[in-house]
């Protein structure tokens, strides 16, 4: 439920320090500190993209519900579900 409300108030929360990529600032580079999901398959999928603890990730752009990220010199357009699972510092 928490996630649902956070979506609705995403704009207001942007000024605070983001805890996941979902509310990260465009153009900023962050370090991934956790993959926040109980879905092992999703965690593994992110791992194969190079998204795991300690890696750097940049939010390049947000298009509609897609988050364009750059990780390990590669670009991906991930959806909101994946973005919200990537915990950042």
């Amino acid at each position: 439920m928490v996630g649902l409300f956070a979506n609705g108030f995403g704009l207001k929360a942007r000024s605070e320090k983001p805890t996941s990529l979902e509310r990260a600032a465009i153009g900023e580079t962050y370090t991934i500190n956790a993959i926040k999901t109980t879905d092992d398959e999703m965690k593994h999928f992110l791992f194969t993209l190079g998204c795991f603890e300690g890696e750097h990730v940049t939010l390049v752009s947000v298009l509609s519900d897609l988050y364009v990220i750059s990780v390990k010199d590669a670009r991906y357009s991930i959806d909101r579900e994946l973005a919200s699972a990537i915990g950042i510092d």
Partner: protein, 671 residues
């Protein structure tokens, strides 16, 4: 000899496969799974040997770790196919990511050649790559390629290298002891530790061989364009304007101009045949040939120029990368109403033809989402519906481009609305899915590719007109010529014909929708065989040889003859168009729905839902339209509102029942 192609999605694998094999691919299915495999024969100009070389395209994957199901599939594919050589296509602009998969491929022991693809982008970004030391560190062959170029693309060198190393033993640069590998198969933790070490190894290799000037995390011009074109809200009106432009050009300007000439030829052909037959042929046979075959097929084929212009423009939009952005904008709505993020793919394909669209739903894992998508995909106006749209916007709305544009948006709206209803009925709330989208880069659209795509679709259109449409029109002509005693129907007694007596009961049901004539009902029925039949049948039953007037430079319209003959008001005409577009598409599509849904309850539910949607939307369009234009409701309002009310009540009951079935589940997803 057999060469397998393996690589990450978006590495240019498909382009390379097509460049190596030409287009003569065979599509088969991998045993047990529904992912298709492509096999082709290497073009002889690349082949340095005398024997045939088979190229097998493996499914794109980001890695081959043994832990998740789909990735072990890739591993199993490689083992099952036992190729002599593996060509690993790697996007040279992100080695850090792609070489991970390469190290896993090298572990298999099959000789590997790495195609360093997209090397032209390296030059553009001034990235310097030390290929020699890359070879040494990775212990395998590397060949620079640019698969998108037709000349000097490095492909012949790639194949030479592949042939040279076949039969050799492949060394591996990142040795994992076999007992550790085996342990990793049963323990995710161990597997992850190994994979991290693998990533670290790759990082170290890349650091020593690559000198980068530009970081790819910067925002490019493409990103800036995307921020506007694929914007949450702005994206929708932009798409509206683009579609409106497409319809204006194809239907108001260029299309009718071409159609005019073309229809002139069809008319000339009609008169030529008519004159050649003279009075010596029995009127039965001559009217079958003239009105049934030439008139009916000609009416449909007359729209070919219009449709070709439309196809061409849509192909240009797809080729330049715009359609993918539309998908990004629309996808948000689909996900919000409980469909999968992948549901957008079948719908995009469905604008060409619903059948491949429905077949594409099989990549959706969740059963409910797959079935719902298969059920709603046919609401996208497919190629066969375009002549119907063209006819009605031409004959009743003087070629207004808003008609076609509105039909696309209405299709999308009905899909979103339908998905909302189905989610409530099935009582299964959103299963969370996740995905990544590979957005193609914008590029200048190729006229040649668009022209080829247009010709391909035009050919299909002509084939359909010459086979199914021709037979249906002949049948319609025969059925309206004879009555049940197989006597020729006399003039003034048309309603006694076989066709009229079959169609009349249905026509009664259509009175509240504004088009209760048996002719219109008959055309709607033949439309279930193929939607173009609506146009053909109308031509035959109303004895109209063509819908496009060759004398004036426009479609017959603006209160012109076609509208008069059919006796429809604009509101009724729009309702008839909506009814034909949003009822079940055609029997072939229903067959495809059956195959993908694998459940009779869903199939019949889906057909009933589509019929209901067509009826209700047509009713609303006619009654509201009539109210707005004349100030009072149309004929048959009371019986119509009862039928529509019953349908809505049934849907609401089902939705209520679905709600009760749902047990509110705590969201397990976010910890």
């Amino acid at each position: 000899m057999k060469i397998a192609l393996a690589g990450n999605p978006n590495s240019g694998k498909t382009t390379l496969f097509n460049a190596l094999t030409g287009s003569q691919e065979k599509v088969g299915n991998w045993a047990g799974v529904t992912i298709e495999k492509k096999i082709g024969t290497l073009k002889s100009k690349f082949n340095p040997t005398k024997e045939d070389i088979a190229i097998v395209d493996l499914p794109g994957a980001y890695s081959m770790s043994p832990f998740t199901s789909e990735e072990s599939i890739t591993r199993a594919f490689v083992i099952e196919e036992h190729p002599d050589v593996i060509i690993n296509i790697v996007d040279a602009t992100n080695l850090n990511r792609s070489l991970f998969f390469t190290t896993q491929l090298l572990d298999l022991g099959i000789p590997v050649v790495v195609a360093l693809n997209k090397t032209d982008l390296l030059t553009r970004d001034q990235t310097v790559l030390d290929v020699k030391s890359l070879k040494e560190r990775m212990k395998c062959a590397f060949v620079k390629t640019v698969a998108t170029k037709t000349q000097e693309n490095g492909l012949d060198l790639l194949i030479k290298e592949a042939v040279a190393i076949s039969g050799q033993k492949q060394e591996t640069p990142f040795q994992v002891p076999s007992e550790a590998l085996r342990a990793a198969q049963y323990d995710a933790k161990i597997a992850e530790t190994q994979d991290r070490a693998r990533y670290d190894f790759v990082k170290e290799v890349v650091r020593s061989v690559e000198k980068r000037q530009v970081e790819n995390r910067r925002e490019t011009i493409q990103d800036k364009v995307d921020r506007v074109v694929a914007h949450k809200w702005l994206g929708i009106p932009i798409f509206g304007v683009v579609m409106w432009l497409v319809f204006s050009v194809s239907q108001t300007y260029l299309g009718p101009f071409l159609a005019d000439t073309f229809v002139g030829w069809i008319d000339a052909f009609y008169s030529m045949v008519e004159n050649a037959m003279g009075d010596s042929v029995s009127p039965l046979l001559s009217s079958l040939l003239l009105d049934g075959v030439i008139g009916g097929v000609g009416a449909v084929v007359g729209f070919l120029p219009l449709i070709m212009v439309l196809f061409f423009m849509l192909a240009l939009l797809e080729d330049c990368g715009y359609m993918a952005r539309v998908a990004v904008v629309m996808d948000r709505f689909l996900k919000r109403v409980g469909l999968s993020g992948k549901s957008i793919i079948p719908m995009v394909i469905g604008t060409g033809c619903a059948i491949p669209g429905i077949m594409a739903t099989r990549t959706i894992k969740n059963e409910r989402q797959r079935r719902t998508t298969a059920m709603l995909t046919p609401f996208m106006p497919c190629g066969a519906k375009l002549p119907v749209i063209a006819l009605f916007s031409g004959a009743f709305f003087s070629d207004a481009a808003w008609v076609g544009t509105t039909m696309y948006f209405m299709g999308i709206a009905l899909i979103v609305f339908g998905a909302m209803i189905v989610v409530r009925i099935t009582g299964e709330k959103n299963k969370r899915t996740y995905f990544i989208m590979e957005l193609p880069e914008y590029r200048f659209p190729s006229i040649k590719r668009a022209a080829l795509s247009m010709l391909d679709r035009a050919k299909a259109f002509i084939i359909k007109a010459g086979t199914i449409i021709l037979l249906c029109n002949a049948l319609v002509q025969i059925m309206q010529t004879f009555n049940w005693q197989f006597q020729v129907v006399e003039e003034g007694m048309e309603s006694t014909s076989i066709l009229a007596s079959i169609a009349s009961p249905f026509a009664v049901l259509l009175i509240p929708l504004g088009f209760g004539a048996w002719q219109l009902a008959a055309a709607a029925i033949t439309g279930f065989i193929a939607k173009e039949n609506v146009v053909g049948t109308l031509a035959v039953v109303y004895g109209i040889t063509n819908f496009i007037d060759p004398d004036a430079l426009e479609l017959v319209g603006g209160g012109g003859s076609v509208a008069e003959i059919m006796g429809l008001t604009s509101a009724a005409a729009l309702a008839y168009l909506v009814f034909n577009l949003f009822t079940p598409p055609c029997f072939a599509a229903i067959g495809a729905m059956n195959a993908e849904m694998e459940n009779k309850k869903w199939l019949f539910g889906g057909i009933a839902f589509q019929l209901g949607t067509g009826y209700v939307t047509a009713f609303i369009v006619y009654q509201v339209g009539t109210l707005l234009t004349t100030g009072s409701v149309g004929t048959g309002f009371i019986p119509g509102i009862i039928v529509v009310g019953l349908m809505i009540a049934a849907v609401i009951t089902l939705m209520r029942r679905g709600d009760r079935m749902t047990v509110p589940k705590p969201e397990a997803h976010l910890a």
